[in-house]
């Protein structure tokens, strides 16, 4: 049994080339059903004319420390495991989709086939074996870095300590564990 960790990810939008390999890898690794995707590529405009920039970055479940989806689940099917990863116990899920509506990131989807909700698991089945999530392994430009946020020597912790990062929708108060490198720092 590994000691408890706090898994998180740092994404560097400057490195992303929009190749969508992470989408493909995730879909293959987790057998995500047709028409659904656990992660996506988003384009976010910032600034105003004439200094406008478009930040392209992958997005997925933010693995929030204070996750609204976990709070609203009527059966406790949505939960945070010991390592802070937000997971769904599909056997308890009744398919009410309240969690989908409560998530400000639109990270969850409803699988019509199984009648239950699903989302990114940080590839816990891989992480348990000492591997990284499929999207991290497959990325050709090392846009994504995964690791234990509580370990100061981990790559994620060092990145966060060394460069300015931000989280998506901080005003939502969800304390997400996916950080984005800030483009304006370079």
């Amino acid at each position: 049994m590994m000691p408890t960790q706090r898994f998180g990810m740092v994404i560097d939008p400057e490195r992303c080339i929009h190749c969508a390999a992470c989408l493909v890898a995730c879909k293959a690794e987790n057998a995500v059903p047709d028409g659904h995707s656990r992660n996506r590529l988003s384009e976010q405009e910032s600034g105003a004319y004439p200094s406008v920039r478009v930040v392209m970055a992958p997005s997925q479940c933010m693995q929030c420390d204070d996750a609204p989806c976990v709070r609203v689940c009527p059966t406790g099917a949505s939960y945070r495991d010991a390592n802070g990863v937000v997971l769904i116990n599909a056997d308890d899920c009744i398919g009410c989709r309240y969690c989908v509506e409560a998530c400000p990131y639109g990270a969850r989807y409803f699988d019509e086939e199984s009648g239950t909700v699903d989302k990114c698991t940080f590839c816990v089945h891989r992480v348990e074996q000492g591997l990284e999530p499929a999207c991290v392994t497959t990325c050709p430009t090392k846009t994504r870095v995964f690791g234990n946020l509580d370990d100061p020597s981990s790559a994620v912790a060092r990145l966060i300590a060394s460069a300015p990062t931000e989280v998506r929708l901080p005003e939502a108060g969800t304390r997400p564990k996916i950080y984005y490198m800030r483009g304006d720092s370079r």
């Binding site: 009527p74 059966t75 009744i94 309240y98 409560a102 400000p104 239950t116």
Partner: protein, 445 residues
């Protein structure tokens, strides 16, 4: 038994009401057949959905709540018709309420089943619905809903049943066969002794008070399912009272609609008089004004705050893809009923009926324009789509309304739709001084 002025002693003064129970006319049969056809169609649609899963609906990412949840909120709202109205009027001793309480209370109990039913229709795994009891997660507003609606269903069923007892006993005494056996069982040995009357009055008094906070809590909690999330234009502190006001509003409209139909079909003109419709019309007018006040407050603060995410939802309702629903709702909930009901000349039976039908349509649209536009304009920059319900969803909605009408009709064939004992002078000196208007008008025949 009260004396029947001018008619032979053998004829029950409330014969029209009793007759309505014991006879089934051709009109009733035709309507029942048509409604059964709709229900059968809905069952086919439901089977289709069970087989194909929720893929049979047009719900999709990110709009996973649509017609079923709209209907859920609408039906739970209408349920405030009975219990709350009848309880409040009972407590303030508005004696004109006497002929309408039963009719209202039946709406409450029946419509609650369809409110709950729509949540079950909306589940991806209805077979696991009991998980909310087996693995309850108390921090979920949905679970609070399960709790408050269960309590409300229980309380309003009791509140419907207790005042029924003397009337059931009356039916027991005039029927034979299976009806007699049924009524004998349900009458719980009622013989009308002073002790029984005393207990009955006490029980009704307690329930009438108890039911009010429960009813208020129910629609408050329904609103919290939305307001507790941070979805734009759901996350509002006034949602609780706003929903309660809307619920009472649509509830009164539902009572008036039911009253007009029952009055016409069973010829109960001398029980349900112009005065009842005038009084309820005034109540509806007050609620229309309250509804306007809440809606105005809600939308003005959203617009003035100019928070971009909120404004996206606001604009989609005011001038965007949902504008046609929003402005129809506004006309139906305020412009039409206010115009009709504020004028004593149009506040007639026909006028209140027209206003009520508009209010019912408008309140359904309000539920729709609360649920769908917020989900169509999510906070995160995700792809969205234009939701329009599928044939399965429409069919199930039609089935719910048809099944409700059928059950209501069925009730009128089993129990007096008008509380008869409450129209008669109390056996002792029970009758309150204010009890003048509850007596049915003199029989014209």
């Amino acid at each position: 038994m009260s004396d029947s002025t001018g008619s032979p002693d053998s004829i029950d003064p409330h014969e029209p009401v009793i007759n309505a129970i014991l006879t089934v006319g051709p009109l009733f049969k035709r309507w029942a057949m048509a409604l059964v056809a709709v229900v059968v169609w809905a069952i086919i649609a439901w089977t289709w959905q069970l087989y194909h899963g929720l893929g049979a609906t047009h719900l999709g990412r990110p709009i996973y709540w649509g017609l079923y949840i709209t209907n859920f909120v609408f039906f739970i709202g209408v349920s405030h018709a009975g219990t709350l109205i009848s309880a409040i009027l009972r407590i303030v001793q508005a004696e004109w309420r006497r002929p309408i309480t039963r009719m209202a209370e039946v709406i409450t109990v029946l419509v609650l089943f369809f409110g709950v039913g729509n949540v079950l229709l909306d589940l991806g795994r209805p077979d696991r619905a009991l998980n909310v009891v087996l693995h309850p997660h108390l921090r979920s507003p949905l679970l609070w809903d399960v709790g408050s609606i269960s309590v409300y269903l229980t309380a309003s069923s009791v509140y419907l049943f207790i005042p029924l007892i003397p009337d059931i006993a009356r039916m027991r005494d005039v029927t034979t066969g299976w009806r007699h056996r049924l009524y004998a069982r349900l009458a719980l040995g009622w013989t009308g002794t002073p002790k029984q009357w005393h207990r009955l009055e006490r029980a009704i008094g307690v329930m009438a008070i108890l039911v009010i906070p429960i009813a208020v809590s129910v629609h408050t909690v329904v609103s919290w399912v939305f307001a507790m999330t941070i979805q734009p234009m759901w996350h509002s502190t006034i949602f609780g009272p706003y929903f309660v006001v809307g619920a009472i509003f649509s509830g009164i409209a539902a009572i008036i609609t039911a009253m007009v139909i029952v009055r016409k079909v069973y010829g109960l003109e001398r029980y349900l008089t112009e005065e009842h419709f005038n009084n309820l019309g005034l109540l509806l007018l007050v609620m229309a004004c309250l509804w306007f006040y809440f809606t105005f407050a809600e939308y003005l603060t959203t617009w003035y705050g100019h928070e971009p995410r909120e404004l996206a939802v606001f604009n989609s309702k005011i001038s965007g893809p949902f504008a046609k629903f929003f402005w129809t709702m506004f006309a139906c909930c305020f412009v039409v009923p206010f115009t009709i009901l504020a004028n004593p000349h149009t506040r007639t039976i026909k006028g209140t009926l027209v206003a009520s039908i508009f209010v019912n349509i408008g309140m359904w649209l309000e539920r729709f324009t609360i649920v769908v536009p917020s989900l169509s304009n999510p906070r995160a920059p995700v792809q969205t789509f234009g939701y329009w319900p599928s044939w399965v969803e429409w069919s199930l909605m039609a089935g719910c309304f048809a099944a409700f009408a059928l059950l209501y009709m069925g009730f009128t064939k089993l129990f007096p739709i008008i509380s008869l004992w409450e129209l008669e002078p109390m056996p002792e000196a029970h009758a309150p001084a204010a009890a003048r208007t509850f007596q049915p008008a003199e029989a014209s025949s």
